[in-house]
């Protein structure tokens, strides 16, 4: 009799813990200060040298990732969240680097070229499970406000970081990985041949257009 009761109690407890675990696994992680990372560019990325340096202005940064939770970087192990929207982080990174290279206009009206950025990926992509694969990918529509012409410039940045066992180390590695891929993407954009060609072609069209005053 006693053994039967003991067995029933054990079975009940086991079922209870299994159900509790299953329900916990099904829940989405919530952002807390201890699982939130702050991704920043750090030092500005040096831009390429233009023959006739234009002034850029970032008119808009739009999220086109289709990700319902853009701030959630990693779902496993209680989740890792970003402290700001990816669009804000990318805008800040581009503005910092353009400003450092003296390529940022003071406002949209004084800009030679307007940038409308479409962000396709920000954070971690699926890797080999032996490491973290960071990826930032965006396309910028470079527009000449005077002629109304625009050209597309693509940029992508990748980074590989080691996996870790401890939550603290996972968080650190993910943060480094995303920062490195952001830096790589910004660098790919600012030092890319595509931007050089787009800026040259768009400014040439303004210079060639009759009745348009040259930029100061």
């Amino acid at each position: 009799m006693a053994s039967s009761v003991r067995f029933t109690v054990s079975l009940f407890l086991a079922t209870f813990f299994l159900l509790l675990r299953a329900s916990a696994a099904g829940q989405d992680p919530k952002p807390k200060p201890e699982n939130t990372i702050s991704v920043r560019l750090g030092d500005p990325v040096p831009a390429q040298k233009f023959a006739n340096p234009p002034k850029f202005w970032i008119s808009d940064v739009i999220d086109r990732s289709g990700n319902p939770q853009p701030m959630l970087v990693l779902k496993e192990r209680g989740g890792i969240f970003l402290d700001r929207q990816p669009t804000v982080i990318v805008r800040e990174a581009l503005e910092e680097s353009l400003k450092a290279a003296n390529l940022l206009a003071t406002d949209a009206n004084s800009a030679d070229l307007l940038l409308k950025v479409y962000l396709f990926q920000f954070g971690l992509a699926q890797g080999s499970r032996l490491d973290f694969f960071g990826k930032v990918e965006f396309t910028a529509m470079v527009k000449n406000p005077k002629s109304g012409e625009s050209l597309e410039v693509k940029a992508a940045g990748t980074s590989i970081a080691k996996v870790a066992v401890l939550k603290k180390n996972i968080q650190k590695n993910v943060q480094d990985d995303v920062e490195e891929s952001l830096r790589d993407a910004v660098r790919n954009f600012l030092r890319g041949q595509q931007l050089k060609e787009a800026a040259g072609a768009l400014r040439k069209s303004t210079d060639a257009a009759p009745g348009v005053a040259p930029n100061p």
């Binding site: 992509a125 699926q126 080999s128 694969f133 992508a156 990748t158 980074s159 790919n188 890319g192």
Partner: protein, 170 residues
């Protein structure tokens, strides 16, 4: 006799330390290296995500190998002065076989393994001159995912590239 062995050990240690220091201080062979996304030959069925991941791994391996002072992204500009000392790595995935878990389990001895063949060309940036051709063949267990295969392939490719470029420099 004892002094002789001790002296020999000290000399060996010094030689090893000198070799390690030489390896550490060795200046990179090139100023910049640019890896491009590899194209896929007809009949190769790999996901676009594989291409992206392999590209990332290849860049990471190039950084680790210290073949160039700087590993730049695809389509980035290089100063004209550095172009002659810069390389571009392009390549093609020529063959991919998914492998068979059944064959691998029942037969073993390398049967049913997942296999990947790749060709890579190393070109000098300034004049597109061929500096080396690397051909690799990677085989892994069919239960492992393709990204793991990309990791092994990138490692093997840079290892072979380093050897080929060293031989070419001599």
């Amino acid at each position: 006799m004892r002094i002789g062995i001790r002296t020999m050990m000290v000399v060996l240690l010094l030689a090893c330390a000198a070799a390690a220091a030489k390896e550490k201080d060795a200046t990179p062979q090139f100023k910049t290296a640019e890896a491009k996304h590899f194209t896929q030959a007809e009949g190769v069925e790999l996901t676009p995500a594989f291409g992206d991941y392999f590209y990332a791994e290849l860049r990471e391996e190039l950084k680790k190998a210290k073949l160039a002072g700087e590993v730049i992204g695809e389509g980035e500009t290089v100063d004209d002065a550095d172009a002659a000392q810069s390389i571009v790595v392009t390549g093609t995935i020529t063959e991919y076989k998914k492998g068979s878990v059944v064959k691998s389990t029942l037969i073993g001895f390398g049967a049913g393994l997942r296999s990947l063949k790749m060709d890579a060309d190393v070109l000098r940036r300034s004049d597109n001159q061929h500096l080396g051709v690397v051909r690799i063949h990677v085989k892994i267990d069919p239960t492992w995912n393709e990204k793991t295969m990309a990791k092994f392939a990138a490692h093997q490719m840079v290892k072979d590239m380093k050897v080929a470029l060293k031989a070419q420099a001599k």
